[in-house]
Amino acid sequence: MNKINGEIYMQNKEQKELLVRLGEAQNKFGYLSEKVMIELAESLDMSISDVYGVATFYSFFSIRPQGRNIIRICKSVPCFLKNSQVIIETVEKEIGIKPGETTPNGKFSFHLTNCIGVCDKAPAMMINSEVYIDLTPNKISQILKAHK
């Protein structure tokens, strides 16, 4: 039994690149298209459904086109205690969309996310991989203006 499992693990080692490659594709194209997933499945000798399964498991991957800038506002308890709801409403008003949507001009996508690990400086959000802390409604418009 040990040996059989050992061999299965060896065969699957190509797959270890999958997360890295999905991350690269996500960064390059802004989302994981069907074409990208099929190509990855072929090059890593995996089934398409396995690639799709991984692509849809992680919240930083998207299988639908996203805006150029992805806003993620923390909705977890420590930010909630510091009025993250006001920040969420301010962003909604500023860019005119609800969580889960993308602006028609493709500039922003907007999501609510779980704890981003800056609870001592709540409320907080990320835009792409940049973290913004100690947010106030006034800060929001300035921050958003800085993104093209």
């Binding site: 499992n5 050992g6 299965i8 693990y9 060896m10 699957n12 080692k13 797959q15 270890k16 690149e17 999958l18 997360l19 890295v20 999905l22 991350g23 890593l44 399964g53 991984v54 498991f57 992680y58 919240s59 930083f60 991957f61 977890s76 308890v77 420590p78 909630f80 205690l81 996310t113 779980n114 704890c115 981003i116 690990g117 800056v118 609870c119 001592d120 400086k121 709540a122 990320m126 991989s129 940049e130 973290v131």
Partner: protein, 399 residues
């Protein structure tokens, strides 16, 4: 009890981009000591003697974990540093990584030597992408300095999944799969990453290693309580004047941290240990922080008198339902059922049968879930029913 800096001893003191500042603080001397004539068994014995237990929440004895992996007669072994700090209210590992990446690297190299592994991985959560360059720079400088001649460290980035902080899900994620938890046994020290013996330690656990090797396990075992040796780094957030990271000797009182250091006022309750952590009402604030009582990963979320217990528990359960990997039924279905009931209560409703239903689902989840998420998810609910039951009962009555 008091504050003492073991894990954080270099934080704010060294330049995280310059290895020379770390060397000035006895950096890599523990590794040198380990490699110069100390056997692998002696290192593991020293860790066992120290009494160090895992700081990620589970509290498993570190030396025992290393011993199990060390004994395995296999060429290929791995050391993994769990830097997937996704627990709600926890930010200590980010604080440590951005201020002292070198101690972590030294610790991983010592771990590699102790168990006979030549490769290590740091699994960094996607939300901490901004730390990637800093970590790469530190690994590069350690390589140039000749400190990683026998041990390679790679960084693997997560992609946004709380469950990947669970060790078996983390390994599946490194293997390029969905981060779903595994059935155990086998445990990682016997069959872990790619089926090979693997030790997985939290950032903070590893940060203790160089000091233990340098000063000896006995020195470390003098600190703390009977079953909780050393210090713990706490992340304090919520209704406090001074949120932040504090390192205290284990056994210190919750009151000392919450009121004494973080300057909280009019405290109603404290959640200790993150989303699945216990809820401690103010009457119990003199409880010691230790594995014997309460600890978890050291997340301390403070709530003042204006907060509604049901609102908080509902939000926490929503989080857990969302982050559940979906592999086992008790957790996948149980968290959803709890969200539904708690949502009802939070809207001012609640049915006669809801309290007993919550308790029934809780006991099934605790008994039969596959991993810590499902097993511990009901804890805040159970605690809230224990200490704030009348709030639930009033809502039912008003309905």
């Amino acid at each position: 009890m008091a504050q003492q800096r073991i894990v954080l001893r270099n934080c704010g003191v060294i330049d995280p981009m310059q290895i020379s500042t770390y060397l000035d603080r006895d950096g890599f001397k523990a590794l040198k000591k380990a490699l110069a004539g100390v056997t692998q068994e002696q290192i593991i014995d020293e860790i066992k003697l120290s009494g160090l237990r895992g700081r990620g929440g589970a509290g498993f004895p570190c030396g025992l974990k290393w011993e199990l992996a060390g004994k395995a007669q296999v060429d290929e072994k791995y050391v993994i540093c769990n830097a997937d700090e996704g627990e709600i209210g926890t930010f200590k590992d980010r604080y440590i990584l951005e201020r002292d990446p070198f101690t972590l690297i030294e610790a991983m190299a010592i771990a590699g030597y102790a168990i006979g592994a030549k490769r290590g991985y740091i699994y960094l959560r996607a939300e901490y992408h901004c730390l990637l360059d800093l970590l790469k720079n530190a690994i590069g400088q350690a390589k140039e300095g000749g400190f990683l001649d026998q041990f390679d460290i790679d960084i693997r980035e997560g992609a946004g999944a709380y469950i990947c902080g669970e060790e078996s899900a983390l390994m599946d994620s490194i293997e390029g799969k969905r981060g779903e938890v595994r059935y155990r046994p086998p445990f990682p020290p016997s069959r872990g990453l790619w089926g090979k013996p693997t030790i997985i330690n939290n950032v903070e656990t590893l940060m203790n290693i160089p000091q233990i090797i340098f000063n000896g396990g006995h020195w470390f075992s003098q600190l703390g309580t009977e079953q909780s040796k050393g210090t713990k780094v706490f992340s304090v957030s919520g209704d406090v004047k001074k949120p932040g990271v504090y390192e205290l000797v284990l056994g210190s009182r919750l009151r000392e941290l919450v009121e004494g250091l973080a300057l909280a006022e009019k405290v109603k309750m404290v959640q200790v240990g993150g989303a699945t952590g216990r809820i401690i009402p103010y009457e119990m604030i003199d409880m010691p922080l230790a594995f014997e009582s309460i600890l978890g990963a050291g997340a301390i979320i403070v709530f003042n008198e204006t907060r509604d217990i049901i609102d908080i528990v509902y939000r926490v359960m929503e989080f857990l339902a969302e982050e559940c990997c979906g592999k086992c039924t008790p957790c996948r279905e149980g968290t959803e059922v709890m969200v539904e009931i708690l949502e009802r209560f939070s809207r001012g409703g609640g049915l006669e049968t809801d309290i007993s239903l919550l308790e029934e689902v809780a006991s099934a989840m605790m008994l039969s879930s596959l991993c810590g998420l499902g097993q511990a998810a009901p804890i805040p609910v159970v605690n809230s029913l224990q200490y704030f039951r009348s709030v639930y009962e009033n809502r039912i009555r008003q309905n």
